[in-house]
Amino acid sequence: MSDQAQLILWLIPGAPLLAAGIIALLGKLFLGERSHVPCVAALAIAFGCSLVLLTKIVPTTFVSGLTSEAKVEADKQISFQPTDEQVITPQRGAIAKGYTFLDIGTMQVRVDLRADAIAAIMLAMVTGVSLLVAIFASGYMHGDPGYPRFFAAVSLFVFSMCMLVLSGNYIQLFAFWEAVGLCSYLLIGFWFKKPAAAAAAKKAFVVNRIGDFGLITGVFLIWKTFGSVDFQRVLFNPELIQKINEQHPGTIPTICLLLFIGAMGKSAQFPLHVWLPDAMEGPTPVSALIHAATMVTAGVYLVARSTPLFMMAPNVQLFVAGIGATTALISALIALTQYDLKRVMAYSTVSQLGFMFMALGAAAAGPKFANFAIMAAMFHLFTHAYFKALLFLASGSVMHSMGDVIDMRRFSGLRHVLPITHWTFLCGALALAGFPLLAGFWSKDDILAALAEGMHSSHGQFFTVIFAVAVLTALLTAFYTFRAYFMTFWGPEKFPEEAGHHPHDAPPAMAWPLRILAIFAIGVGFVGPLHLFSGYFEHTPGLPAAQEHGFHLGLMILSAFIALGGMAVAYKWYIKSPEIPAKLESGLRPLYALSQGKFFFDEIFTAIVVAPIRLIATICALFDKYILDGVVDSFGALPGFLSQAPRRLHGGLTPAYAATMLIAAIGCVVCVMQLFAGQ
């Protein structure tokens, strides 16, 4: 690869890292309210380079006109030796050389940047969304005392996320997997004075660590099994995977399961989803960037990236689909009754991530369908990033003008006061609900199609259930999205007192990102039906060959009806006859409470996990202090105890000494006499 291309590749993570360093060092003293400048500039550079990567660099590596077998051969051709001398040029991907991170025994890890089709798509999305979010935040965070800290952390996050996507091996991936978790921790706890924010940050980190526990164990198992952690060797070598699967049948499914546990943590899948709603304590741009568009999709990316392994473990794929469906449904049900606008969006994110995992799991239908299923998941990831970021930013704009009030019961009818926010939010909501021809429509339709294909496979019954859940969840999604929309923007005009008398709409720095994202939410979906996305995506190495896919008109009509139906119900219940929800609430009290109480997951986990461990910890501490250390102390006391008796003999009284002497002398004499007598 040319030097220029290497430079461009390195600039993508490098520029944000540099910005993070500059802001961290100079922010407080010199930059102050201009701290966003390095961040925005760096993200613009990164975005530009990502576009070059997407359109110029990566496509040159595509091998066109090859049969699928030839592509597999092309992927394998390079025998990857992680030494500095060898220039690494994989097929169908670009590598920018870095340095040797670790090289001891068989643990050989290099830090390189590896870009192929899937990575290029992710990068363009990540840098694009983060650029818009950073611009938005320069308005939204204005006047906050931690302004420099915010932009330093955001820059660091973008760096870490880009490095994660560009990883060429599992250790590097894990490293930046945790690094994005750190940024998430720092940004959730950004307002550390708020106890809720501090608690949420810790919760996010610890719950993620549970997932990471699975992931690192999975990576160890990969390393032990394959003797390497490099994608090139582990993923793109079908014969090796085949051989290992034959020799050690259980190993690859175990690896996949462990990797998926990692994905469950990062992508907030049931039962590890509990951290994400709490993460909304962070500033709203962070929620948009990290907890909706980018970081939480890392799990989807990981599973999609590891497709060659997952294809050997159809049962794990079914598990993935099952977890995805469970998560999607549960969180959609919770979102139905939440009053906190951001929490609705958070549960919606969890639910949409569930959709993506359902699609990934649908690859179990067979190698023929796998490409389409994974493409559908990645496509939904791609469109979701735009419209969910938009929805969060618009919610942030609402929050901004409402004086940081986010409870939907306390404001309503904002559509005249906040026109820009209203229109952009509507675009996002329509896209999320799957309104025909908007972004979410196309990608959700692809997922339904992938699941429908699963119904014709050997796991037909299972996928019938999953498909039904997906349809139901899609209906719920349209409903709760528009419930939130109507509650916020329709009805009588009402502001909380925190907002002051004249709430103002978004200033330009906030308005323009909203407008641009709105355009994306409307239009970006067309890359799907035009086969731009799938045409590019199928060049990802390691994927099974793609099959021809026509339009599934029946499914499209179905999903259009679902979307419109959900929206219509929301309109009926919240605009036409607002007494219905109250009636339902009193009529279905226990169910309503279950949804309102978020299925009581937090309480359940506290009771069955946190409290017992805390109890055991207390017992351990007491055991350590009194029993273990008590044994030590009693050993220490032993000499003192044993010396009690001899001490009496040394009381310091002359008569006692004299008596002892006398007795001893007599004893000696007796002994000596006995000795002689014996002779």
Binding site: I104, A199, I210, W223, A617, V632
Partner: protein, 548 residues
């Protein structure tokens, strides 16, 4: 090269002697400046030494021989003249004595890394004591410098006798540091620390003596030289049962020092009572003497015992230590005690990696020794800074310190991340390699150990959340508002932070330093996969043949 090594041992000692000479006339100020100059000089020499070693020794270090820099001086020889018949023979016999006691100094990559760590932490220890040690300041710094000298001595010793003398000698200055400048329970803590570790070491002495006697019997001319012993006992393994007993005997002192569960109870107490500098040196370097002893003496000499007994025993104790130490830390309300228990867990990772007995695990373990020194040292520095300001370390009295002390809080978050093994900082590399090494041979231990990573995040972040985040809560007895980190404190903290990032981002240079030495130890273990059915049943029988 060897001159540098000797200078490393002498410099702190010489400074201490100077301080002793002038201790009546020198006030607190002179004493601390002298100590600072002495420790900085030592560190400079250590860095020069490493630079030279990298340039000159590493490229030629192909043969698995340790140490790579050495210097012998026979100070006692023993020869029998029974077989001497004429005058001429005497000369040659005297020149080739049967037994030589040598003053055998040396260094390899591992010891140089640990020496540099010692020197670096001493500077931080001096700086952090700058204001807080007011009474008998000169004596305090004398103790600190003598301690440094002793610690460097341990790492330079390739002679069992010398090793043991230095190993024990370090107890004395530490005993005084805890006992004279410590907290409320300092006497109890100092005596317990001293006696507990001494008891362990005495058992070790027994093991050493037996080992040396066996070597003498076998005709080794330098029975105290560790490399000679390693070579001899590799060629002539000790009878299996005896080997196990000797291994356990020799390990006793090291196990206490590490400390492995359940021999750790001296540690939290000593840490809590020790002055900040004492805690830094204790956690940062002294605990490593145990694991270093395992690496230097047990691993090369008792190969079979290490594989068959050491691996299951130590690995079990280590994982118990990891989980148990983490749980104990979770229940603590005193920050310093929490950090002390976290040491138990971290040293568990270290021992787990060491007894993986493969190059990944041992590398991880050695890195973990350095990393734990850096990150726990830094944690103790920060806890000390908080204590200097508020005279309390209880999480119940403190809260939201980030509002008052933003820099210290930022440093605390940073160090916490290093300590819980966040990638990009030092802790990750060591823990990851240790666990990976163990995973390769005994996945179960590694998996249980990995769960300690989750618990580690939990207790450390809980501490940060309660102590530094949330609304400000200060003890009532503090009247004037306290200031943030001073430049002096920053000077104590920053070098450690820089090293944390360096090792975290690019660990390979550090690994390259130690790689040949690790290879030298591992080669004996490479051929046989431990704990397979064959080695367990066959090797003891095979081993009994030797040793008469």
């Amino acid at each position: 090269m060897i001159g540098f090594l000797v200078a490393l041992m002498i410099l702190p000692l010489a400074t201490a002697v100077l301080l002793m000479l002038f201790r009546d006339s020198a006030g607190q100020n002179t004493a601390r400046w002298m100590a600072l100059v002495g420790s900085v000089l030592t560190f400079c020499v250590a860095v020069t030494c490493i630079a030279k070693y990298r340039d000159q020794v590493i490229p030629t270090a192909t043969q698995p021989v340790q140490p790579r820099i050495e210097w012998h001086h026979a100070w006692l020889t023993y020869t029998t003249l029974d077989h001497v018949h004429d005058e001429k023979d005497i000369e040659s016999v005297l020149n080739h004595p049967e037994v030589k006691l040598e003053f055998f100094l040396g260094a390899d990559g591992v010891s140089l890394c640990l020496i540099a760590l010692t020197a670096l932490l001493t500077i931080s220890a001096v700086l952090i004591s700058w204001e807080s040690i007011k009474e008998r300041a000169a004596e305090f710094y004398i103790c600190l410098l003598v301690l440094e000298s002793g610690l460097i001595g341990v790492f330079c010793s390739f002679d069992l006798l010398l090793f043991y003398v230095f190993f024990e000698f370090t107890l004395i200055p530490m005993f005084f540091m805890v006992g004279l400048w410590g907290g409320a329970q300092r006497n109890y803590a100092a005596i317990k620390f001293f006696l507990y570790t001494l008891c362990g070491s005495l058992i070790t002495l027994l093991g050493l003596a037996a080992l040396v006697l066996m070597a003498v019997k076998g005709g080794v001319t330098t029975p105290f030289s560790i490399p000679a012993l390693a070579t001899y006992f590799t060629e002539h393994p000790i009878d299996y049962r005896l080997q196990v007993i000797l291994f356990l005997t020799l390990s006793a002192g090291f196990m206490v020092k590490v400390p492995l569960f359940p021999l750790h109870t001296w540690l939290p107490l000593a840490h809590v009572e020790a002055p900040t500098a004492g805690s830094v040196m204790l956690a940062g370097v002294m605990l490593k003497l145990g694991s270093y002893g395992f690496f230097r003496i047990c691993l090369p000499i008792y190969r079979q015992a290490c594989m068959d007994v050491g691996l299951p025993l130590i690995a079990t104790l280590s994982v118990i230590g990891i989980v148990y130490g983490s749980l104990c830390a979770l229940a603590q309300r005193d920050i310093k005690k929490l950090v002390a228990y976290s040491s138990v867990a971290h040293l568990g990772f270290c021992m787990l990696g060491l007894f993986a007995l493969n190059s990944e695990g041992i590398t991880g373990s050695l890195l973990q020794m350095i990393n734990h020194g850096l990150s726990t040292g830094a944690l103790f520095l920060l806890v000390g800074m908080v204590y200097d300001r508020y005279h309390t370390r209880q999480l119940d009295d403190l809260g939201g310190l980030a509002n008052r002390l933003p820099l210290i809080a930022a440093a605390m978050v940073f160090t916490t991340m290093a300590s819980i093994g966040l990638p990009g900082l030092n802790g990750f590399v060591g823990e990851m390699l240790s666990l990976a090494g163990m995973f390769k041979i005994m996945p179960v231990y590694a998996i249980i150990g990995t769960s300690g990573v989750v618990l580690g995040a939990w207790y450390m972040l809980t501490m940060v959340q309660q102590g530094f985040f949330g609304p400000l809560r200060e003890p009532h007895n503090v009247h004037e508002p306290v200031g943030d980190m001073t430049p002096r404190e920053a000077c104590a903290f920053l070098p450690l932070a820089v090293m944390c990032v360096w090792i975290g981002v690019a660990p390979q240079p550090f690994i390259d330093m130690m790689k040949p030495d690790i290879q030298a130890v591992v080669t004996g273990y490479d051929h046989s996969t431990p704990l397979t059915a064959e080695t367990q049943t066959e090797s003891p029988a095979q081993l009994t043949v030797i040793n008469r």
